[in-house]
Amino acid sequence: MNGYLDMELLRFTTAGSVDDGKSTLIGRLLYDSKSIFEDQLEAVKTASERLGNEEINLALLTDGLRAEREQGITIDVAYRYFATPKRKFIIADTPGHIEYTRNMVTGASTADAAIILVDARNGIIEQTKRHSYVASLLQIDNVILAVNKMDLVGFSEDIFNEIKSEYTLIAKKLNLKNVHYIPISARDGDNVVNRSENTPWYKGETLLCLLETLPVKDGIDKLPVRFPVQYVIRPQSDKFHDYRAYAGRLASGRIKTGDKVTILPSFTESTVKAIDEADKPLNEAFAPQSVAIRLNDNVDISRGDMIVKSDNLPSLDANISLMVCWLNHRPLSIGAKYIIRRTIFLFARHPFLFEH
């Protein structure tokens, strides 16, 4: 069942406050989808005993650093992998502590979906709002509000609905798209992989079923073509003496041979002669494919330039205003000089170019 060559990949992140049951949920997903191996489970059992935990502590599966295990906290994002017959998944298990926000953002930046956990007893708290804000800032396509520990509130539909309506307002204010709500118990597995008998009033999908069907990077190939040039391929061999290709990863759009293109920032124009994927020529390529593009004219193009289709140019300006998220402990100082790494937001809805 694990052997298909043509599955889709979904990247998701889990966020929530310290004791909301994040690691337990991941442990449950891995365990119920049979993705924990015997030697891993054995190692976690031994470590749990050594740390004096009464039950197996599934958090030890992802808290892989010595300092994390000592303190029982997550410092940096850990990546975990599992597959069902329908999809492959990459989980970014991110830290809940506010001082490790830069690590949380690192894990969330590539996510197609964010699971935000809420403790049913406490409802929506400051940290829920903070993580929702980050999800909105990173324009994560799907948000799942998982109301956890439903067993501790008697699987009450009223409590679930209360939390849901409160969050609906937050989601609207933050402009979150595709928000889903699920009542779960990560510890006992209710509505995680298997449908729960304790919530007959809940008609939606289980968490895993939702993860298997959420849209992934829907339509980035339909946005305007943005191809940042990463590297120029120029073989020093007689056989490929005149070969010159511009390598990069399509940030958005779909490009074909014969397309009229404009090179920015010089505004030079040309047409696509060939699209190469190593030794295989392609008629077209789409985001997020890595390819090498050859043009019909000999033009000056180097790393940092961008190839776009001539019929859909981005706007260019010497002045831009943008929101800066500061992740360093030392505060930004006005008037100091900073380096901006100039590239493309690969999965953002509206790719744009940073200028120095």
Binding site: L9, G64, R102, Y231, A278
Partner: protein
């Protein structure tokens, strides 16, 4: 109709992007080649990333002196085919020069000693980026790695203070004498690697397929027998049909009893397996944080 990449295509695109980013951002990168399936896939992706130009960096093999001869033969053949330069860092030389002291006893292994040889080789050639085939799904400390992982002037990793790494923005800025470890295969799983080898029809060392060999059992793990290995009194050499699930230093790489003679067989075997591939690596079992400790010191 919107088009989607398959998971293998998406992983391939991501890795090729990382390899090209390394060639663009660093002055003197090197690809760490072990002869195992992951570094073979990494070499194949590097070939694809720069085709029809040659791979713009040399390969570095840290040779413990305890390698399977099939690994060395495969390595030399591949180097010739790719037309890249091979540098060999020899652990035996590090021992002879007194840089490291050989472990003794029945569990002696040169695995840990490799770190010194590796760091010496990086310093000698002034490499500023070393590409490794490590995957995050292999091990819990590796699950914490960035794609671009900073190392200080002593080659050390500081896992508590890693840089932010957002989207596909990789930050390779560093001080003189520092370097980066780069992991293009971060997001691949063992299954992805095998599926990709099947899809692309990549040739592998024969060790990965079933063959008969002299082996013995230690702590529940089957090890290949070589004359330089010390046996405990109750350990018996037997002939069995085995294959390697991972390839590393002979002294610490467990082998699998297996009849798998094709890639399809191997994929079925792994899909049904209930232990991880590093379950047979005694180097990880020395302590709970064995990998983290080795990585902090500058290991692969």
């Amino acid at each position: 109709m919107s088009s989607k990449l398959t998971h293998l295509k998406e992983l391939e695109s991501e890795s090729i992007y990382v390899l090209r980013e390394v060639a663009a951002q660093f002055e003197k990168p090197v690809l760490l080649f072990s002869g195992g399936k992951d570094s073979i896939v990494m070499a194949y992706l590097a070939y694809k990333a720069f085709y029809p130009a040659a791979i713009p960096f040399p390969f570095l093999h840290i040779d413990t002196g305890h390698n399977f001869e099939e690994t060395i033969a495969y390595r030399d053949e591949l180097i010739k085919k790719l037309g890249v330069k091979l540098i060999v860092g020899s652990v035996q030389e590090s021992i002879d020069n007194g840089r490291v002291v050989e472990e003794t006893g029945v569990n002696a292994s040169r695995n840990k000693l490799q770190t010194v040889t590796l760091l010496d080789a990086l310093a000698e050639h002034k490499f500023d980026a070393a590409l490794g085939g490590a995957r995050r799904d292999e091990e819990k400390a590796r699950a914490k790695e960035r794609f671009f992982s900073h190392r200080d002037e002593f080659g050390q990793w500081d896992p508590k203070n890693q840089r932010p790494e957002l989207w596909n923005i990789f930050n390779g800025r560093k001080q003189l004498g520092e370097h980066f470890r780069i992991f293009p295969l971060s997001n691949w799983t063992e299954m992805d690697i095998w599926q990709y080898i099947l899809q692309e029809n990549i040739e592998l060392p024969s060790l990965y397929y079933t063959h008969e060999r002299e082996v013995f059992e230690r702590d529940g793990i089957w090890l290949a027998y070589y004359p330089f290995m010390q046996l405990k009194p109750d350990e018996v050499i037997m002939r069995k049909r085995i294959r390697c699930r991972t390839i590393g230093d002979i002294t610490c790489t467990g082998v699998t009893i297996s009849e798998a003679h094709s890639l399809e067989d191997i994929i079925n075997e792994i899909a049904a397996s209930r232990v991880t591939e590093r379950g047979g690596r005694s180097d990880d079992k020395r302590s709970e944080a064995a990998m983290e400790d080795r990585k902090k010191a500058g290991y692969f």
